[in-house]
Symmetry: C2
């Protein structure tokens, strides 16, 4: 079976995010007011060929833990769906 | 009202994504087989204070068009929800 995987990797809530602060200031400079808490992370999409959804999700999680996210500074969320 | 905004900015499907290709090769080098179509983009989260959901979504879209996404090379998707 073929699966679409979406991964979001964000800086941990307790850590400073200088890139997010820069974007927040830029938005305010453009006139967007009452904007707060801007955080910038990475979004990844990929396709996986696996026997079933459980295996696809387990492998996607392993990819995040081993390569896609930094376990010390980042959190990730996963979405795995069979390709329509 | 307060809204949580999630933005995903991805390279257009028709464009090469060298960063995605590098990640795909790295995943294969780590032993993850049958992985394809890796694309790497940005994920942003922010909070907005707006009168209603329509206004929040319109402003979030304007932020993407004016700053957060490159209209020539990137597509964005938006999610706007009232803060629980």
């Amino acid at each position: 079976m073929r699966f679409d995987v979406e991964v979001r990797v964000m800086p941990r809530a307790t850590l400073l995010d200088p890139q997010g602060q820069a974007v927040e200031h830029a938005l305010q400079a453009l006139g967007f007011e009452r904007v707060s808490g801007v955080r910038v992370g990475r979004a990844l999409t990929l396709q996986l060929e696996r026997a079933d959804a459980g295996r696809a999700e387990a492998d996607a999680r392993a990819m995040c833990q081993r390569l896609l996210a930094n376990p010390v500074t980042e959190d990730f969320t996963l979405s795995v769906r069979a390709t329509s």
